[in-house]
Subunit: 328 residues, 2 copies
Amino acid sequence: MNTSNQPIKIGIVGYGNLGKGVELAIRQNTDLELVAVFTRRDPQSIPTEAKAIHIDQITDYRDIIDVMIICGGSSTDLPEQVPYIAQWFNTVDSFDTHAKIPEFFNTVNKAAKDHNKLSLISTGWDPGLFSMLRLLGESILPQGETYTFWGKGLSQGHSDAIRRISGVKGGVQYTIPIESALDRVRQGENPVLTTAEKHERICYVVAEDGADTSIIEHTIKTMPNYFAEYNTTVHFISEEELKANHSAMPHGGKVFRSGITGTETKQNIEFGLTLESNPEFTASVLVAFSRAVYKLAQKGETGAVTVYDIPLGALSPKSAEDLRREIL
Amino acid sequence: MNTSNQPIKIGIVGYGNLGKGVELAIRQNTDLELVAVFTRRDPQSIPTEAKAIHIDQITDYRDIIDVMIICGGSSTDLPEQVPYIAQWFNTVDSFDTHAKIPEFFNTVNKAAKDHNKLSLISTGWDPGLFSMLRLLGESILPQGETYTFWGKGLSQGHSDAIRRISGVKGGVQYTIPIESALDRVRQGENPVLTTAEKHERICYVVAEDGADTSIIEHTIKTMPNYFAEYNTTVHFISEEELKANHSAMPHGGKVFRSGITGTETKQNIEFGLTLESNPEFTASVLVAFSRAVYKLAQKGETGAVTVYDIPLGALSPKSAEDLRREIL
């Protein structure tokens, strides 16, 4: 395991867009070292510059890797992988099915606690940075309203959900903030808005030959938590068009807290992200938090935690003294 | 001391604009109770709705108050008051002389640690929230630049400097971020910018009868450190206009982190505050952090800490379980 002045040893589970982003992000941090990428596929087929290992051999690395960053999808991969891997490794994941976080937390908490490991669940930018800003906003301005807007951008979780549908060959989903809603919030109206009143969802889907597109469209539009509550539009396109026009993965969004202090003093907090690549940015967040997980695990913390349990200083490679002198 | 379901008992030291703001902010939080305001002035003269007590009697409250929010000025009050009060109480302060933070931390740390108390130093919005965002930015996007812009807002230090000039009866100074600099940062140009290249200064001055306004204007514009390096505009106005239009204390600012992930992917983080009252907002931050200080002190933490040592969940009156379910 890590000793001081040795880089923190990181493993990646899953080598999709997020796993690739984690590999790139680790290279920007000299105190972190990527030991291996673990995959369910043939390790030879994985285009990583690190060692690629079949996931069946993951437990061979239990004394070598300090923190495992688990990069699977939220709908099926993470609920299965995280509680399993948390038995042997400290973990970080980006589980983002908001409605199922309490259940996921409890399962991971038990697995990690029983084996004296620490698991940070549901980090990234939402859940993650946006969650942190929502908490700051409502704690500092208790009399007020919080607004989260996503997009304009491609949602990984929602695109994954589309691609898992039978008969779907490929597809992407864009979350679009509804401009009239943004304007009302910016003008300090404090309107009551559901998530569905703030966003619409537009899907570009490639169907497999012979698949029934009306069934696919119905399956998407009625999928609970993901699409059922939204104004959702589904466009069927060719594979060529998908590649040509929908390969980039931009995203972003905003968190607002509009509050009142005293009797009628308006105070406004705004946080925004403009991202050319959602997976690369999410990966960068996961990597910074993997450092924090390592530090807290070294102090003896175990079980599942969230971004709310992490002192921010643990995210930085700098000492507490340097942080106070340089950037406080 | 506090037992569960009893409100956390807060004291205020100093009753200027910040102390008054703290009193207002505590009223917005049902889990907090203001016990008393401590003052060096005649307690009868303090227009608080709480009990006003002379500061010489502060130690009488050592078993009653959980957290003392110390609202003096950074230049002389806080360096003297915080180490003294930290012997008997957990404390929160807004010490904001960036260059002297390491020295202040060490003094307060010793006082608090020796007496098993916990002191959070240097919170508010800068240092405070902006410090947190600077840390998040550089930890998540290590390859990038951080930019802090202040304003539009009233600067107390610069207003004081104007008022000391011979022939000046009154005046205020606003710090304004320069739009073209903001745009270059937003576009990810990562320009090198001095403080003077990011901000301009606008002064509203009331001259005494018969004073030579051209001399006053020249004195302001050539004042080293304060104005000479900046694009400075001076407007002469009447005393009535000063009172009518420049009595509020608005402020705000922005922290940007513009970074690169992968090889050339631009990622941008932006955090902004638009505040109608600087002291009321700063007070609201101090109050949220007083809750966190109480919780961490209950867990046995002692010594001095900064915003970097606080898990964000401690700022909220909600349980960890509720936070995961409701806002993560």
